[in-house]
Subunit: 421 residues, 2 copies
C-alpha cells in the first residue's frame, strides 16, 4: 500500500449497492479507494422485509465490508459517520477523524420519508435498516403475545390489525409476507386463536399498486393480495398515527398499534450538510456525467442523486440505477485522470419485480411481463444470485426451502428493546 | 383444551434447559402445563460464546417456545416476566397479569454474579443472554475499527487488549474463540495490522483452570491456550474495572476497554422476591425431592436450587443438573397426584467438557478423560445433537464447516448500540 500512497485518493461515501459497486469498479484504476460507512457491512436491502417477517436472520443479508474488499488491493474500508464535507479543501469530517480526497463518490443512499408527518415518524416503523427490520419483527410477535391474553375483543382486534402504507414493491412484499407469517406460521403457534381476527391493511394513496409495472400486473397483484386476505385500500392517504389509531384523510380511523411506512424515500440526511445544489427529495442535482455543478471531482449516484438530463421524470430510487451509475462514476473518474471527457449516464431499465408470497410474484423484464409462479421463480433466482457471499446464499436458501416446505419461519425471536435492557 | 381446564395447573417459570425439559416430561401427565418466560425462545446457552465471537447468529441458538411446545397438547406458553409469587394463594404476579397454579416448578436459572464488584457489573460484559453476546461481538469488532485508526501505540495496545475473567468452561471457550477470531479471521480483515499487538488475557483467581476436570486436562488446556497466544494468569483476582483499566488484587493494572466476566453465576434475581429460604448464591434451599420447605407444591430446579442432601459440595450450576432435576420434578408431581411419596433426586454426573478451538477440546465422560481432536469431535457431536430444531442444527453446521475450512466467520456485524439509534 505504501507505494500507492501517492495515487489519487477516491473516497466513496456509503457501502450500499452504489458505493459497493463503485469500489469494485475501481479495482484496476490507478487510484486509492476508501469506502466510508457508519455500518461495517453491506446490507442487502431487498430482503429486509423477510427479516421483518421472521423469515431470515439479519446476518444473512449483511456482509462485512472488510471481507468484501479483502481481495481488492487498492481499496480500504473506514467505519465512520460522515458529518460534513469541506468542498474547498476536499476533506471529509467524520466522527472518527478527517479524510482528504481527490475524488468523491457520494453514494449515501436514501432514508425513510414520511413527508413531514411527525406522528408517523415517531410511532410508525420504517424499513431501511437492520434495526428497523428487527423492530418490526419484535412488534408483530409482541402484538400476538398481547392479543392471546386480551379478553376485550375490540382491544384484541386493534392489537391484531397491521397497517402497511405504500403500494410499491416494499409495501406489497411486506403485506404479503405478514399475511403468510400469520396464516401459515403463527396460526400454528397460537392454536386457540381465530385468525380471522387478524387484519393486514395495505394503504396506497394513489389509485393503483406498483407504478413501475404494467396495469395488468398491478391488477394481478391486487387480486393475489386479496386472496391472501390483505385488505388493500387504494386512494387512502395517511394523515397521522398516534400509536393506537391510524388517521386517514377524510376522517376515517383504523385502530392499530402497528404502522409500517413504505410510502416514501428521500436522500440521506447527510446531503443537507453538503453545500451542493439540491432538487426534489433532498437529492443532489448532478449533470448527466453524474458530476456535481462546479465540483467536477464530486460524483453523486443512487438515491442521493437527481440527474439533470432534461428527462420528464427522474430515475427511480432503486438499486439497479445506483449500480449502473456506480460504473459510470468509476469510469468517468478514470476519464478525468486521463484528461478525457466523462460520459453521460445512460440508464438501462432491466425492469422491476415484486414477490407477493409463496409461488406468487410479478415481474417486468425488458418490457415483458411475468406473473404468478414463473415470476416467483425469476424473483428467487435473481435475488439468490445477487446475495453476496456463497455461505449467505446457502443459508438463505435453506431457510427459504424450509419455510416453503414446512410452512415455518426460522427466527420468530422477540428481542428485548433497548428500554428493556 | 377446554376439557382439560379442570386438570391441576403446573406452572413452570423459565424456558431454559430445566424448564423446557420439565414441560416435555409432563407431556403425558394429567395436568395443564404453562411455561412462563420473559423471552419467547429457548436459548441454547452453551453456544452463546460463539455468537459473541461472530461464529453464528443469535437466531441459530434461540428457538421459539411456541414451536417447541406446539406438538404438546397439554402445554401452553406465556410471554411474561414474573414479578413475585403469592405462596399462600398460589398465584404468580407478572407484568402481563396474574396466574394461579396448583404446582410450581421454579426453573428461573442463574445470572451473572460479579460478587459485589459494582465497577465490573457496570463496565464489564456478562455472557448469559443474546443481548450480552451481541454486545460483546460489537465491542470486539469496534475495538479493531478504532485501533486501525489509532496512531498512539499505547492507546492502540489498550484497544487491542481483551480480558476474560474466569477459568471455567465459558472463560476458556471465550478466550480460545476470541484468539481464533483475531488470528484466523480479523488478521485478513486488517492486513495493515501487526496482530502481535492484540492480547487476550484470561484471569483466574484460583491456581488452576476447569475445576470440574482432571489436573491433566487442566494442564493440557493451559498449554493449548498458550499456543493460541492467550495469556493465562492463574491466581489473578480482579478488584475493579473502570472501562479503561482492569485493577487486580495486589495493585497491578491492565489497560483494556474490554472485560468479559465469566467468573460467577448466582440464582436469578426473581428468587429474592419469593419468600422461601435461600442458601448460598441466592439459591432456594430444597429437600432432596426438590420441594421447597413448607411448600411441597413448589419444586425448584437448576441454577435456582440448592439441594440439602447433606453432601459436602452442592451440585454444579450446569445444564445437565437442571435437565436431570426437571425429570425428577415432573415425576414427583405425578407421584403427589397419585398420593405417592416423591423420590429424592440422584445426580448422574455425565461429565464435563470445554472446547479450546479448532480441533482442540477437553472432555471428562464417566470418569474417562479425552483431549485434543477426539475430545473436540465429541464436543461437536454432543452440541450439534442437543441443538433444538433440525434446521438450526443444519445452519449451525454449515457455519461451523465454513469457518473450519475457510478460516472465516459468518457474522462480523457491528450492530448499532441503543445509544446510537
Amino acid at each position: 500500500m505504501s507505494g500507492s500512497k501517492n495515487l489519487p485518493h477516491v473516497i466513496i461515501i456509503g457501502a450500499g449497492f452504489g458505493g459497493l459497486r463503485a469500489a469494485l469498479s475501481l479495482k484496476n484504476a490507478p487510484v486509492r479507494v476508501t469506502v466510508v460507512d457508519r455500518n461495517n457491512y453491506h446490507l442487502f436491502q431487498p430482503l429486509l422485509y423477510q427479516v421483518a417477517t421472521a423469515g431470515i436472520s439479519p446476518e444473512e443479508i449483511a456482509y462485512p465490508m472488510r471481507a468484501v474488499l479483502r481481495s481488492q488491493k487498492n481499496a480500504a474500508f473506514r467505519l465512520a459517520e460522515v458529518l460534513d464535507v469541506n468542498l474547498q479543501e476536499k476533506r471529509l469530517h467524520t466522527d472518527h477523524g478527517d479524510l482528504n480526497y481527490d475524488y468523491l463518490i457520494l453514494a449515501a443512499g436514501g432514508e425513510t420519508n414520511t413527508f413531514g408527518i411527525q406522528s408517523v415518524a415517531q410511532n410508525g416503523f420504517g424499513l431501511k435498516s437492520i434495526s428497523d427490520a428487527t423492530a418490526i419483527r419484535t412488534q408483530l410477535l409482541k402484538m400476538f403475545e398481547l392479543a392471546v391474553n386480551e379478553t376485550d375483543p375490540e382491544k384484541r382486534r386493534a392489537l391484531l390489525t397491521f397497517v402497511v402504507v405504500g403500494g410499491g414493491p416494499t409495501g406489497v412484499e411486506c403485506a404479503g409476507a405478514i399475511s403468510e407469517l400469520i396464516r401459515l406460521v403463527l396460526s400454528k403457534d397460537y392454536p386457540t386463536f381465530d385468525l380471522r381476527e387478524a387484519r393486514i391493511i395495505l394503504l396506497e394513496a394513489t389509485q393503483r399498486l406498483l407504478p413501475a409495472l404494467s396495469d395488468d400486473l398491478a391488477t394481478f397483484t391486487l387480486g393475489a393480495l386479496k386472496n391472501k386476505k390483505v385488505d388493500v385500500r387504494l386512494g387512502a392517504a395517511v394523515e397521522g398515527f398516534d400509536g393506537e389509531n391510524v388517521h386517514l384523510k377524510g376522517g376515517e380511523q383504523i385502530a392499530s398499534h402497528t404502522l409500517i411506512w413504505a410510502a416514501g424515500v428521500r436522500a440521506a440526511g447527510l446531503l443537507q450538510h453538503i453545500d451542493i445544489p439540491k432538487g426534489s427529495l433532498g437529492r443532489a442535482l448532478v449533470q448527466p456525467t453524474l458530476q456535481a455543478k462546479d465540483h467536477p471531482e464530486i460524483f453523486v449516484i443512487g438515491d442521493a442523486a437527481l440527474v439533470e438530463n432534461g428527462a420528464v421524470s427522474p430515475y427511480p430510487m432503486v438499486a439497479p440505477v445506483a449500480m449502473q451509475q456506480a460504473v459510470y462514476a468509476a469510469r468517468n473518474i478514470v476519464h478525468l485522470l486521463k484528461n478525457e471527457t466523462p460520459e453521460p449516464f445512460v440508464y438501462r431499465d432491466l425492469g422491476s419485480m415484486a414477490t407477493i408470497g409463496r409461488n406468487q410474484a410479478v415481474a417486468m423484464l425488458n418490457g415483458v411481463g411475468f406473473q404468478g409462479f414463473p415470476a416467483w421463480v425469476i424473483w428467487l433466482l435473481v435475488h439468490i444470485m445477487q446475495l453476496i457471499g456463497f455461505r449467505n446464499r446457502l443459508v438463505v436458501l435453506i431457510n427459504w426451502a424450509w419455510d416453503y416446505f414446512f410452512y415455518d419461519r426460522a427466527v420468530r425471536l422477540i428481542q428485548q428493546s433497548c428500554d428493556d435492557r
